[in-house]
Subunit: 72 residues, 2 copies
């Protein structure tokens, strides 16, 4: 029986935030979201799938996230 | 009356895709999403707001999108 090992990805945001010595509220204010959004992202709720899509999109287009937008 | 000018950002994905000479289907296959998702992103619908938040998140944490998650 060939069980395909599936890699499970988890959020790395809490570690990155602590390295920057930011609280969840401070990070939330920097981005303009509610602190509960930060908590959700850090607890793998409603974010990882989108992070991976954004990563693959930037890789496919050979660009940085900021390049995905332009001012109207 | 001091009307604060708010910059409106719009998707730049269609231009980036055409520069790479990719069709919507080809880009969709590269990322593992449905072509309709690419169409939505190019027309500023369905998730482009989240990409903007993630772009700000990467800037605030000084990281790349792929740093936002790790294998468990």
């Amino acid at each position: 029986m060939n069980r395909k090992m599936e890699i499970i990805y988890v959020s790395n945001i809490a570690e990155l935030r602590k390295q920057k010595k930011l609280t969840q509220r401070q990070l939330a204010d920097l981005i303009g979201v509610d602190p509960s959004t930060i908590r959700n992202w850090e607890r793998n709720r409603g974010g990882i799938e989108t992070f991976m899509r954004l990563t693959k999109l930037c890789e496919a287009l050979d660009c940085q996230p900021q390049d995905l937008f332009k001012s109207d």
